[in-house]
């Protein structure tokens, strides 16, 4: 609230009172110039570090670039190979879609659940919030993936518990093609911190009067949650869904570490990005890897667009507008 007051620029110190409008517009023009000047580092970064490499990679996707030698133009060969002659590409798409479609809703539901629990006035609540956010900071890290390998390994903590419960020969979760992907999904769900924080912010924006009114009408807590909380925070759910969707498509670390960079066993953890990495940096098919990257961009864009299109039907904005 205080920020609103300081955001307005101070009145220009120069110029006589009579030429106020004039000075003002030239001042704002000067301000615009300064603005652009301050934007320059970011702008140079965009062109040199983002747009440039992206365009180069688009070019490479039409070549046979191998990293070690100069690229030759091959037209659409890479794209053709992808869709007609590459079983592993389809395996990677299958694995990644499963991962995204299963992990994103689970993670969001889990994050929302925790956010609701943390959205109350308890003593030391901020400590709990920080604590629950911790896995997100660690989740993508190498150390946790290594830990996951141990926990879900043959002699890991999970199996020790299961054996204790009488399951004599539980599977080696991370090394069994039926389960390996689900351990990664679990790891993803465990990284619920950042959507949780966003949910928490959203929950605190829900006007208390709504609840009070509903309580007066005799609505149960469950009803209040589904009839008030959820509808009001749909924009937040939508935002989180988009962010996590994009993030899940780009997941890499966990599969790289847990499968030892192979996507195994039997390609069951061959994330799209991992396959892209293997093609580019192990098989030195950088041109093909670039094509894979652009197809991934297309897939993510399509999913995001579909989400936006569907959002009209379920996302409600408080101000009634879109």
């Amino acid at each position: 609230m205080t920020s609103l007051q300081i955001r307005r620029p101070p009145a220009p110190a120069t110029g006589a009172g009579g030429r106020r409008t004039n000075t003002r517009s030239s001042a704002s023009r000067a301000e615009g110039r300064w603005g652009y000047l301050f934007l320059t580092p970011w702008f140079v970064g965009l062109v040199v570090l983002t747009a440039g490499p992206m365009l180069v990679s688009l070019y490479y996707s039409f070549t046979d670039f191998s990293l070690l030698s100069t690229p030759n133009w091959v037209g659409l060969d890479n794209y053709e190979r992808m869709f007609t002659a590459d079983d592993r590409f389809f395996a990677a798409v299958r694995v990644t879609l499963t991962y995204v479609i299963v992990s994103v809703p689970l993670q969001l539901a889990f994050a929302l659940g925790i956010a609701v629990l943390l959205n109350r006035a308890l003593r030391g609540i901020s400590a709990y919030r920080a604590l629950y956010y911790l896995p997100s900071l660690l989740g993508g890290s190498v150390a946790v993936a290594v830990l996951w390998r141990q926990v879900f390994g043959r002699e890991g903590a999970v199996n020790v518990v299961l054996r204790g419960l009488g399951w004599e020969n539980p599977p080696t979760w991370i090394a069994d093609p039926d389960f390996a992907l689900y351990t990664l999904i679990l790891l993803r769900v465990w990284e619920f911190g950042s959507p949780m924080v966003i949910f928490l912010a959203g929950l605190r924006q829900v006007p208390q009067e709504y609840y009070e009114a509903a309580e007066v009408d005799g609505a149960s807590p469950v009803q209040r949650f589904f009839r008030i909380t959820i509808p009001v925070i749909t924009p937040v759910i939508f935002l989180n869904a988009i962010l996590q969707l994009i993030g899940a498509f780009q997941a890499f670390n966990s599969a790289f570490i847990i499968s030892g960079g192979t996507g195994g066993p039997l390609d069951s953890t061959l994330f799209y990005t991992l396959y892209l990495y293997i093609e580019g940096f192990t098989n030195f098919r950088m041109g093909y890897a670039s094509a894979l990257a652009w197809v991934l961009l297309g897939i993510i864009a399509a999913f995001t667009a579909v989400n936006f299109a569907l959002s009209r039907f379920w996302v409600h904005y408080e101000d009634g507008g879109r």
Partner: protein, 434 residues
């Protein structure tokens, strides 16, 4: 001469740093002239430390030379190196995995060493045939730091605890089956008699094939074996798993490619089938004494199936500013008594045979040296070049091989299906090139 004296003098008054670069760019022959080299290497910190010592010894012998270490972890070593090559700023001297040398050489990233051999680079004391292994497209593109061979490392402690001893060279595949099944039974399934490395195209399968007089790839870059060979191989390991001699699929899949994640070190199996030079690194990871033996033989086969392999390889960047100095440095690492003594068996059995026998080794290293001598001098069948060993589509064929064997192991496909799938995929990849 006068020019050089002038430069030397100016170096003394502080211009050296600037002018030194100019001088070295001129290039000098015969071990004189200053040069600054970079060498990249992967591996343990103790290995890198030994290399640093070699660099120091080199700078001691050639005061105007220096070598800087560019160390990187094994995991991203090759992609890092390829990126450096792509940018034209690769290290002058590069340690390279054997399966990447052909790839690098075919893309002209490696200096051809032929003209230097017998000149600045003395290979006359090397084991016969070692230099030829590094030929890609006919040209020597890399050198091996040492002789190596396929072998099996056993945990002697485990075996002794159940009254068994390490199989002597000459035991058969049949023997491995019964021996391993006995072990598994004796320990009631606590661990298995042998690990299952049947998915690794570059491991025991090659020995199995050569006992049938075949190589994985022909000189023309086609598959050197047929569906019968692969079917027999897969069925053999299927039998070991059924008999409980080898672990089930998920246990095998959990073991990683590194020594410390191997089934032997993790305590799931009594052995590790690998390259023999793993011996001392593996020994460092366990209290229990280890021993090295050959892979089994095929009594109806043509030979031992074992062959001379290179261990860790080294090449020179084709676009280095210092080709002569880099080659001279290679010669120093391979032939200088001090350098060879420092490195010991760290990178393989020292290729210089005259020096190899003069060194003191740790017990584990001594076992490795004795083993390699046994293979190279008595048992070895004919070896092939890295060019033939690793065709352009190597990675694809290797992946397809892993998939075919794993499919069976996990019960996802029957043997004939997966063999057929392998040949379709592999032949397609080989036709496509890379």
């Amino acid at each position: 001469m006068e020019r050089r004296n002038f430069l030397r003098a100016s170096a003394g008054i502080g211009l050296g740093a600037l002018l030194g670069a100019g001088l070295s760019a001129c290039g000098t022959r015969g071990g004189s002239g200053s040069a600054s080299l970079t060498m990249s290497q992967y591996g343990s910190s103790s290995r890198l430390e030994l290399l640093e010592q070699v660099f120091e010894a080199y700078a001691g012998s050639y005061p105007d030379r220096m070598v800087r270490l560019d160390a990187a972890s094994v995991d991203n070593y090759i992609d890092r190196l390829a990126t450096q090559v792509s940018g034209g700023n690769a290290p002058d001297v590069m340690g390279i995995f054997h399966n990447a040398i052909a790839q690098f050489a075919r893309q002209n990233a490696l200096l051809e060493l032929d003209d230097h051999i017998g000149q600045a680079l003395d290979t006359s004391e090397f084991t016969d045939g070692l230099v030829d292994l590094g030929r890609i497209g006919g040209a020597v593109s890399a050198l091996s730091f040492g002789d190596n061979a396929h072998g099996v490392i056993y945990d002697v402690g485990l075996l002794e605890s159940i009254g068994k001893s390490v199989p002597e060279p000459g035991y058969t595949w049949e023997d491995l089956l019964s021996f391993s099944a006995d072990i598994s039974r004796a320990v009631d399934g606590d661990f298995y008699g042998t690990e299952d490395r049947s998915s690794q195209l570059d491991q025991g399968f090659k020995v199995w094939l050569l006992q049938r007089g075949k190589y994985a790839f022909t000189a023309d870059g086609e598959l050197g074996f047929d569906s019968t060979d692969l079917t027999d191989w897969i069925e053999y390991w299927e039998m070991l798993r059924e008999e409980g001699a080898a672990p089930p699929a998920d246990v095998t899949a959990e073991a990683g490619g590194t020594f410390d994640s191997s089934a032997l070190i993790r305590g799931y199996a009594a052995n590790h089938q690998t390259y023999a030079n793993a011996m001392s690194s593996m020994q460092a990871l366990t209290e229990s004494p280890l021993a090295l033996t050959t892979l089994p033989i095929d009594p109806s086969g043509t030979g031992s199936g074992h062959f001379l392999r290179g261990s860790n390889w080294v090449g020179v960047f084709s676009r280095t500013d210092e080709p002569e100095a880099a080659v001279e440095f290679l010669d120093f690492m391979f032939n200088d008594p001090q350098a060879v003594e420092i490195l010991g068996a760290e990178l393989g059995a020292p290729p210089n045979r005259a020096l190899r026998d003069t060194l003191d080794y740790s017990p584990a290293e001594q076992q490795f040296i004795d083993y390699v001598n046994l293979i190279t001098d008595e048992l070895a069948d004919e070896a092939i070049t890295l060019d033939q060993e690793f065709p352009a589509a190597w990675n694809d064929v290797n992946t397809a091989f892993g998939t075919a064997t794993e499919d069976v192991r996990f019960g996802r496909a029957d043997v004939s299906e997966s063999v057929e799938q392998f040949f379709t995929t592999a032949e397609q990849a080989l036709r496509a090139g890379s």
